[in-house]
């Protein structure tokens, strides 16, 4: 066929038209990504290379050395350490509780929808609401549970635990709903086959249910880790970073470094947090993906 062939020309123009249409469909999301993700990321990189004056009206090139200085500095490392502790306090407990609730509510019983709705209800509450609720519960002066020592917000050794509990509670609805959806996607016949094979409840859960909902677990693990690294409002409301800086996570430090003088430092910290979250997520995928079964 020569290029003069009208069929080839027709095919070529159709391909161009399809490509234009495809890019047109991609454009809105591309604009949103550029405006709200890529440009801010670029600005962070940029700001990390400069130091602002106290009024924020002029900036001075300080170069990549600012990255080295901030990322190896005690402020960043202590924030990172507190953030990591926060992840460890919130993610495993949240995941286990969510799965337990979902497994217990995944039954054909009269009225089970009521329990499912109650268990899922925290998904409808904002971080602010959850924090206020926990403020009332564990406030050191007026809280109902002010005497529960391991949740005390006034003790630097326990304050992070109190805040973490509010996060666990707030994320429980999300974990519950997503796990329940995962459980309900497991075909009933597989459980029946397990029953005939003589599997008891524990063996059935660990050998059948858990492997089959592993993609859901993987998703929740990644999301909850990211949520925990990004947690801010509950810390600001419940402890304001205290007592004695014991709840100053990386995000809290980044937020509080947004005065003109510290803008460069905060930007570097934000880039650092972004990189760490990216690495942790990638590590989760590469290490755990081998254990995840994605079905047929």
């Amino acid at each position: 066929m020569s290029s003069d062939d009208p069929h080839v020309r027709h095919l070529g123009s159709r391909r161009t038209r399809d490509a234009v249409l495809a890019y047109a469909f991609l454009l809105p999301s591309a604009v949103i990504f550029v405006a709200f993700f890529f440009y801010p990321l670029y600005r962070l990189f940029y700001l990390g290379l400069y130091q602002q004056n106290r009024f924020g009206t002029a900036e001075r090139w300080v170069g990549p050395s600012q990255y080295t200085k901030v990322l190896t500095g005690s402020d960043f490392l202590s924030g990172l350490s507190i953030s990591a502790r926060y992840v460890l306090l919130t993610v495993p407990l949240g995941l286990v509780l969510g799965v337990m609730l979902a497994v217990s509510a995944n039954r054909r019983l009269r009225g089970i929808k009521i329990f499912q709705t109650i268990f899922a209800s925290t998904v409808a509450s904002s971080v602010a609401v959850a924090s206020v609720v926990f403020f009332v519960l564990i406030n050191p002066q007026v809280g109902y549970f002010r005497n529960v020592s391991f949740l005390s917000l006034s003790n630097p050794a326990t304050a992070l635990q109190g805040v973490a509990l509010s996060s666990v509670w707030q994320n429980l609805g999300l974990t519950f709903i997503i796990t329940l959806a995962g459980l309900q996607a497991v075909p009933e016949e597989i459980y029946e086959a397990a029953t005939l094979d003589g599997y008891g409840p524990f063996r059935r859960f660990f050998r059948v249910t858990l492997p089959l909902i592993s993609p859901t677990m993987m998703f929740l693990l990644v999301v909850l880790v990211v949520f925990a690294f990004q947690a801010f409002a509950q810390i600001d409301i419940l402890t304001g970073g205290g007592p004695a800086g014991s709840t100053q996570t990386l995000v809290w430090k980044i937020f509080n470094s947004q005065q003109p003088l510290d803008q460069g430092t905060g930007s570097v910290m934000a880039i650092g947090l972004f990189a760490i979250t990216l690495v942790v997520t990638a590590a989760q995928f590469s290490i755990l993906n081998r254990r995840v079964h994605y079905g047929n």
Partner: protein, 372 residues
């Protein structure tokens, strides 16, 4: 290797009766097919044998044990599910080994049943895989298998525990037509080799006719007839069985039983078919003038210039090896099965048809029960 006995088994879901006083004796080493349309209760009956559904009423025995309250794992039965229900995260070997992991088994030379050791389990898995031709696929996961291979894994998982009875819930329905025909033969062969009781649920009469030692036909939770495939086909006990078994189904035409010059006939309004026997077995004699439903299989009708009944051809379906001539007989659509050779009568042509007198069945229009 046990018989399975249903004694007045009933299953109710609230007000809905899924299985209604089912009494059925599945003999030892028999291939029993539970056949019926969707919602007839056949799968529920099977699930009650498996122990997956509780029995509302009646007694169920497997061998000499009443198993109404025995847990599924202790009933010594295996089940092949419609979807195969393989564990997708396990290899073929692990899937087959699964029923051996927790249950106890009688071991030759030992008094008490016990859990199998790993070498014993592996030996059984190898045997079962060999029987089903899966030896090369043991390391694969179900997602890497074809539909037919998955089906064989499900069968291997069922036979590995060497149960008293195999329960199968429409295991061929996910296969294409060619593979289904091939697997039917393999299942019959497997039944012969294992010499174990099979209870097989299907809505497909071809599967039932080709594999069953006996067929139990159910409708609306009630047992309609039990018998070998040929007996069920040739002497249906009622109109439901007559219409359900056979493809195309038996023609059923309203008529009146008459005796003319001492000969028994059925009057269809457009002619009279002869009837061979009007009282046999334990049936009451049918008297002259009784309203009946006449049943004749398509292969027992023929276009015949001397035939006693008038008909008009409405359509002809050519199927390659045969053709179906659809006629209007006094307002009823009637199908005749003909060899495909020769010229088919064109639609609109008026013809005369005859029937084989021995093959004309009479049914009571009210009770739908067989009369002759």
């Amino acid at each position: 290797m046990s018989e399975v006995v249903f004694e007045g088994i009933t299953k109710r879901y609230g007000d809905v009766v899924a299985v209604d006083h089912l009494t059925l004796d599945v003999l030892n080493e028999e291939f029993m097919v539970l056949l019926g349309p969707s919602g007839c209760g056949k799968t529920t009956a099977l699930r009650m044998v498996a122990g997956l559904d509780a029995i509302t009423e009646g007694t169920l025995r497997i061998g000499d044990r009443v198993v109404n309250d025995v847990e599924a794992k202790d009933r010594d039965v295996s089940m092949v599910f419609q979807s195969y229900a393989l564990y997708p995260h396990m290899t073929v070997a692990k899937n087959i080994e699964s029923p051996l992991m927790t249950r106890t088994f009688a071991v030759e030379g030992e008094v008490e049943p016990r859990k199998l050791t790993k070498p014993e389990r592996l030996s059984r898995v190898t045997d079962a895989a060999g029987t089903l031709g899966l030896s090369e696929l043991l390391a694969r996961k179900p997602a890497a298998l074809s539909g037919g291979q998955r089906q064989r894994v499900a069968l291997a998982r069922a036979i590995v525990s060497r149960p008293s009875a195999f329960l199968m819930d429409e295991p061929l329905s996910n296969l294409d037509a060619k593979l289904r025909a091939q697997t039917r033969l393999e299942l019959v062969d497997l039944h012969q080799r294992l010499a174990t009781t099979f209870i097989y649920v299907t809505h497909d009469q071809i599967e039932a006719m080709t594999m069953a030692t006996r067929i139990a036909i159910l409708n609306e939770g009630r047992l309609q007839q039990v018998g070998p495939p040929q007996a069920v086909y040739e002497r249906p006990h009622n109109l439901f069985v007559a219409r359900f078994i056979g493809s195309p189904p038996m023609n059923t035409i309203p008529g009146t039983f008459v005796v003319v010059d001492g000969e028994a006939k059925v009057d269809l309004g457009v002619g009279r078919f002869p009837v061979a026997a009007v009282a046999g077995d334990h049936h009451e004699p049918v008297v002259d003038g009784t309203k009946v439903v006449v049943g004749v299989r398509p292969e027992h009708l023929a276009i015949d210039g001397e035939g006693p009944v008038e008909a008009t051809v409405t359509a002809v379906e050519w199927l390659g090896h045969e053709r179906h001539v659809i006629c209007d007989v006094g307002g009823s659509a009637v199908i005749l099965r003909q060899p495909s050779e020769g010229v088919a009568p064109p639609p609109g042509q008026r013809v005369r048809i005859g029937a084989v007198a021995d093959e004309v069945h009479l049914f009571d229009p009210n009770t739908t029960e067989r009369l002759n």
